[in-house]
Amino acid sequence: MAAQPRIPSHLRGLGVSVVLLLALGLFAACSDADIPPLERRAQELNQAIMCPVCPGESIDQSQNPLAVQMRGIVAEKLQEGWTDGQIKDFFVERYGPSVLLEPPASGVSIAAWVLPPVAFVLALATLAFAVRAMSRSRSPRHGAQATPTQVSEEDMARYAGRIEAALGIGGDGAKAETRPTDGRDGKGSG
């Protein structure tokens, strides 16, 4: 790649992908799925159930004897063919709904689940509204210029000069030019 001054961009893209794929292959190789499905389900359940005596910690992470015992129960019930929901209900009956690390999606606590997506959508809507308002408020005065204008050769050369200056490349090609003081007319329609 060093000798070629210009490499077609799709080739470069390929190069980039290859690098990424290598990194990927690394852990695709290491993630041997030698965990039986039942054990995996047990882990997922353990991570969703809280140890009642150590707030905030799941029975999966806690080493409290109670957590160890509860892990045993989970494994046992799974062996007996219980569903995930049944096992969760089993613990909720004994320790109350707070034993689950997620609030239930029913009753008052549905608010916990509803608000985040609502906030997301509202935020995006507000943003869309703001962007429209911000971009429209200039149109009355500059209605004509709001549409894309033809850029002359001269303008292009001037911009190229500025880009080069921004890149820090030697300045002798750039024309003496002051920046337009009125930023809104930066397109140089003059």
């Binding site: 490499i7 992908s17 041997d32 707030p55 999966d60 707070s98 690390l101 985040p116 911000m134 500025r162």
Partner: protein, 666 residues
């Protein structure tokens, strides 16, 4: 010595109050002498506070258990080195720590802004003074670390053993420093607004610098915390979304939004109001974080309601929030933007979207953290009767997708041009990254992933990585065509626009973090093993023989150290020693995992229990790519420093005059 410390605290309180009052009065009444004297008062403050801090240190070293705080957080057996940790192990000490650090930061900040922002400085000093007065008031009247006990106990209670870890020497102080440092850009921004200078973008450069300093310290605090959790808490993970972590994360999210949006003001003179709103939110969240993080040991959102101090903190938080919003509304007319947004498809819009999404994540995190309180209130329950838990599964599910969108945006946003992108621009800028993302996504799916989310997440990471590489490659190539060799071209490219290219380095670090997090949360495997000495087991390509366990007694703890002989694919990897310590005085057990870390994966053994009959239970994890998360720390650090390093000409590229051109004389 203790009395001198007490006196110093009282004097410091008066000085801070004077700095606040004098500075505001001097600025408003236009009495420069008063403002200057207030500024000098601020300069003196750290020295006075050092006396108080020295008194507390002295009490610890001299085992002066007549001081309540010393008796509660140390004992005779505590190693000297842990004096440093004990200093901030409790509520009162951590407040003193915060105050001392903040006072020093204030002095440095004021020295850095004094000449460049002469009008803003008095107001900024006033705000810093107010914050310091509040802290010192709390320390003096509610949580005095130098308070005496009526009866002197023979020995202290000792230090919380969970804090006895190398990570605790740096994580809590860095975290607290990060939180309190948010007040610096806040003071500069609000000060500029008060001085009617918010619309002149002069505050932005220094606001950005201090914003990034603060962001960097917060980032480090969070990463050290994650590292501490990973190595000591022994559950194989690093982030549990508990209230303490969340309270430190929220200001980080807001500051991340701030340091990006402030770039738009710097370059384009836009988002002046928005930047004020963000920094106000960031400081409010930082205060919440300070309250929850202080003391460290038993924090929860419930502690707010349980103490007078909680209410005072809430009150101060409310006052700063509404006070600064009032200033904002009052000064709104000075904050009109110079320019307008041109298009949805522009870098400005991408920045705005990024800001909004970060704030949404912060809001969701806040919502999840306080939801138990909301739930109790709605059910008419008493405080503390928790009937709903909001834990890791909730946050993973709710925040995960938004964070993914943010990573995608991190890849695409910097590739968009300012003002307006045409379809041509978009295609040219995005085709390579999107193609890379597609390829990676398809390949990951083909290799066979369990979770479609994982494939999506990795594809998105690929887009972001390809975007950064494309910028570097294109920039270097265009310079190379001008006759520079590739390494020189690359180096000069980076140096030409430090905020931008430093930012890319930081993005690359964030990407390493993200890939590590995605890989370890989707591909981590674990299993419990019951073993007797001599047993051999294998898991995830590793074979490990349990050799023996030894009990070692220390003054404060008993340790059971297990030894494992580990090999992988016939290659000997040496002996690993996970251990479990028990602290009789606290009745607390703590584990130390043994971790063999490589760039590919971590092999992690942690003991669960040792039975008397010789059987022991170990949990073994294989966590892929976690190493990259810790390595991202230095990358982010260096990238931020590079972005911060001063450059002769900032912002809009000035056009050079040709050699020999004459400049007009004014």
């Amino acid at each position: 010595m203790i009395d001198a410390g007490q006196l110093a605290l009282a004097v410091a309180f008066v000085i801070a109050a004077y700095a606040a009052a004098g500075s505001f009065l001097g600025a408003v009444r236009r009495v420069p002498e008063l403002a200057v004297s207030a500024r000098y008062a601020l300069y003196v403050l750290p020295l006075v506070l050092l006396i108080a801090a020295a008194a507390l240190l002295y009490a610890f070293v001299a085992h002066d258990f007549s001081v309540r705080y010393v008796a509660e957080h140390s004992n005779l057996a505590m190693p000297r080195a842990y004096t440093w940790v004990a200093f901030y192990a409790g509520n009162a000490g951590s407040l003193l720590f915060l105050t001392v650090v903040f006072a020093f930061l204030c002095v440095v900040a004021v020295l850095s802004i004094r000449r460049k922002l002469p009008h803003t400085t008095p107001y900024a000093v006033g705000i810093m003074g107010l914050v310091l007065t509040f802290f010192l008031g709390i320390i003096l009247f509610l949580a005095n670390p130098l308070e005496r006990l009526p009866v002197v106990p023979p020995d202290g209670q000792g230090i919380n053993p969970l804090l006895v870890h190398f990570g605790m020497f740096i994580h809590p102080p860095v975290q607290m420093t990060g939180l309190v440092s948010v007040a610096i850009p806040f003071s500069i921004a609000i000060g500029a607004m008060l001085a009617r200078r918010g619309g002149r973008d002069e505050w932005v450069e220094l606001g950005r610098v201090w914003g990034m300093v603060s962001w960097l310290i917060l980032t480090f605090g969070l990463m050290l915390g994650a590292w501490w959790a990973y190595t000591i808490l022994g559950w194989g993970g690093y982030w549990a979304w508990d209230p303490v972590e969340n309270s430190a994360l929220m200001p980080w999210l807001a500051m991340t939004a701030f340091i990006h949006s402030v770039m738009v003001q710097r370059r384009r003179g836009m988002f002046r109001m928005w930047n004020m709103v963000i920094i106000i939110l960031a400081f409010t969240l930082a205060q919440l974080g300070m309250f929850i993080n202080r003391g460290g040991a038993v924090p929860s959102v419930h502690s707010f309601a349980q103490s007078t101090m909680g209410w005072l903190f809430l009150l101060f938080m409310g006052l700063t929030l509404f006070g600064s919003l009032a200033v904002f509304v009052w000064r709104m007319d000075t904050l009109r933007s110079r320019e307008r947004l041109d298009s949805w498809f522009s870098r400005e819009s991408a920045f705005l979207l990024q800001n909004v999404l970060f704030l949404v994540v912060a809001f969701v995190t806040l919502w999840g953290s306080i939801f138990p309180l909301v739930f109790e209130a709605s059910q008419g329950l008493k405080v503390g009767e928790v009937t709903v838990t909001v834990g890791k599964p909730y946050f993973d599910r709710v925040n995960g997708p938004i964070l993914l969108v943010l990573i995608l945006l991190m890849g695409i946003g910097p590739l968009l041009p300012w003002r307006r992108a045409t379809l041509q621009n978009l295609v040219r800028a995005l085709r390579v990254p999107l193609l890379a993302g597609l390829v990676v996504g398809v390949v990951v799916a083909a290799v066979g992933v369990r979770a479609p989310m994982a494939a999506l997440a990795l594809a998105i990471c690929a887009v972001a990585a390809a975007g950064i590489l494309q910028e570097w490659v294109r920039g270097s190539m265009s310079r190379h065509r001008r006759g520079e060799s590739y390494p020189v071209a690359f180096g000069r490219l980076l140096a030409a626009n430090r905020p931008r290219y430093g930012g890319y380095v930081v993005h690359l670090g964030i990407l390493m973090l993200a890939i590590g997090a995605v890989a370890s949360s989707f591909y981590s495997v674990q299993r419990d093993f019951v073993m007797r000495p001599g047993d051999v087991a294998s898991f995830g390509g590793y074979t490990f023989r349990y050799l023996d366990v030894q009990r070692i007694s220390f003054a404060d703890r008993d340790e059971d150290v297990a030894r494992f002989d580990v090999s992988s694919g016939g290659e000997q990897l040496g002996v690993m020693e996970p251990k479990r310590a028990f602290y009789p005085a606290f009745r607390i057990g703590a584990t130390r995992a043994a971790i063999r870390s490589t760039a590919v994966e971590d092999f992690y053994i942690v003991p669960s229990e040792f039975n008397d009959d010789g059987r022991a239970v170990f949990r073994v994890y294989v966590n892929p790519l976690v190493w990259w998360m810790w390595v991202s720390g230095p990358v982010i650090f260096l990238g931020t420093l590079f972005a911060l390093s001063p450059q002769r000409q900032p912002t809009p590229a000035a056009v050079r005059f040709p050699a020999g051109a004459r400049t007009a004389k004014a």
